[in-house]
């Protein structure tokens, strides 16, 4: 699903509401037929949230950051080494995140997402700070995710060229 809209049109708010970060004045978010607020842990166990800010600690290395994330979740089937290679960040492993460029930090955030190995991806403006290669990589990863039966809610300024059935909602 793709959320399209101008700045300030409420894309981020909607996605935060889906993630259970915002409480709604009316309406409900359901997951598996149950309101998410009544099964928060279970729901959060099946989603990843990619926000504007990276959510990485600048003083910790890439590996330390991801190790922390992994400790909060059950063991993932994905090999970290493999994921790093895929995203082209294997050489940055030992560096504190502070030394990475914005685009590289974005890639680390994607690595976190892949390692979490869950079905629902919430991507808020995933293409920010990414170069052409990066954009293509994200599209490719999303296509694979969707092809393997995953869900993805993505917000963007413009149309995204993804080879899958997507539902576009314009705000």
């Amino acid at each position: 699903m793709l959320l399209r809209g101008q700045n300030g049109s409420g894309k981020t708010s909607l996605m935060r509401a889906i993630a259970g970060l915002l409480s709604l004045e009316s309406g409900e978010i359901l997951w598996g037929g149950e309101p998410v607020l009544q099964q928060r842990q279970l729901f959060h166990g099946s989603l990843v949230w990619l926000a504007h800010s990276s959510g990485l600690k600048a003083d910790l290395t890439l590996v330390e950051n991801l190790e922390f994330e992994r400790a909060l979740r059950p063991q993932s089937a994905h090999e970290p080494e493999h994921v790093f290679e895929r995203l082209g960040i294997e050489r940055l492993k030992g560096l504190p995140v502070r030394f990475l460029s914005a685009g590289q930090q974005r890639r680390v955030a994607f690595a976190r997402m892949l390692l979490a190995d869950v079905s629902l991806w919430l991507l808020d403006e995933p293409f920010t700070n990414l170069d052409q290669d990066g954009r293509e990589l994200v599209i490719e990863l999303t296509e694979e995710h969707l092809a393997s039966g995953g869900l993805c809610v993505m917000s963007a300024h413009q149309d995204v060229d993804i080879a899958a059935t997507i539902k576009t909602v314009s705000l």
């Binding site: 959060h44 166990g45 926000a51 959510g55 909060l72 995953g150």
Partner: protein, 232 residues
């Protein structure tokens, strides 16, 4: 997808991971730990300079001064409890993690106590000695400070969670936390004074211990609720 989602992650693993991460961060930025400690030492230096070096006077005000200074130093360190996590977005990641939020918050609070409370307790004998506190009283003081800083870290985490992301957070945090912290100060400092006067002081210790246990079981929930609210 995988059957990952059906598994619940181990709760203790999350707690330990948060503590480890925050200790690692403190290790990489020692200033955050040392600044409140220097502040503590300096406040304790101010009083003899202001009141005069007379031994009886110093013995009399010692417990109170050390306790007030410890309270203020803890308050100073509380400000950063959630601030950097809020700024880099990792707080939001904690809020959507599959771990129960009160547990993660407890982990952060424990790490905070290890980085602020424990150093304060360890440094306090040096400063107490300059106030001519007898050795056995110093023991009592360290015990009350240990229990007291646990209470203050737990209480303070609620205030820090309520004020995270607000512009005038620092002053507001003091305004919220100081009245809540008054019983802790009152129990702690007076227990030390009683010990210095060779009187029965166990009541205060038990009360502080009870406070710490109650805070330990209740405050993570309040802090978690407050974090969810201030991150809306």
């Amino acid at each position: 997808m995988s059957d990952n989602e059906a598994q619940q992650p181990a709760i203790l693993a999350g707690l330990i991971a948060v503590i480890r991460r925050d200790l690692l961060l403190a290790w990489k930025r020692p200033g955050d730990v040392l600044n409140p400690l220097f502040f503590f030492a300096m406040v304790c230096t101010l009083f003899p300079l202001a009141v005069g070096p007379g031994a009886t006077q110093l013995m009399f005000i010692g417990p109170g001064v050390l306790w007030v200074a410890a309270l203020l130093a803890t308050l100073l360190s509380l400000n950063s409890l959630f601030m950097s996590d809020y700024e880099d977005g990792s707080l939001e990641q904690l809020l959507v993690s599959p771990q129960p939020l009160p547990v993660l918050v407890l982990g952060k609070t424990i790490a905070h106590w290890l980085c602020s409370g424990v150093p304060l307790v360890l440094v306090s004998p040096l400063l107490a000695a300059t106030y001519r506190m007898p050795t056995d009283v110093i023991g009592v003081m360290m015990l009350t400070l240990t229990l007291g800083t646990v209470c203050l870290s737990l209480l303070g985490s609620i205030g820090a969670a309520l004020t995270v992301g607000l512009n005038r957070g620092t002053a507001l945090l003091s305004l919220l936390i100081l009245p809540l912290a008054m019983p802790v100060l009152l129990l702690g400092a007076n227990t030390v004074s009683l010990a210095a006067d060779n009187e029965m002081y166990s009541t205060g210790i038990w009360a502080l211990g009870a406070y710490a246990v109650a805070a330990l079981s209740l405050s993570p929930y309040a802090t978690a609720a407050a974090l969810r609210i201030s991150n809306e």
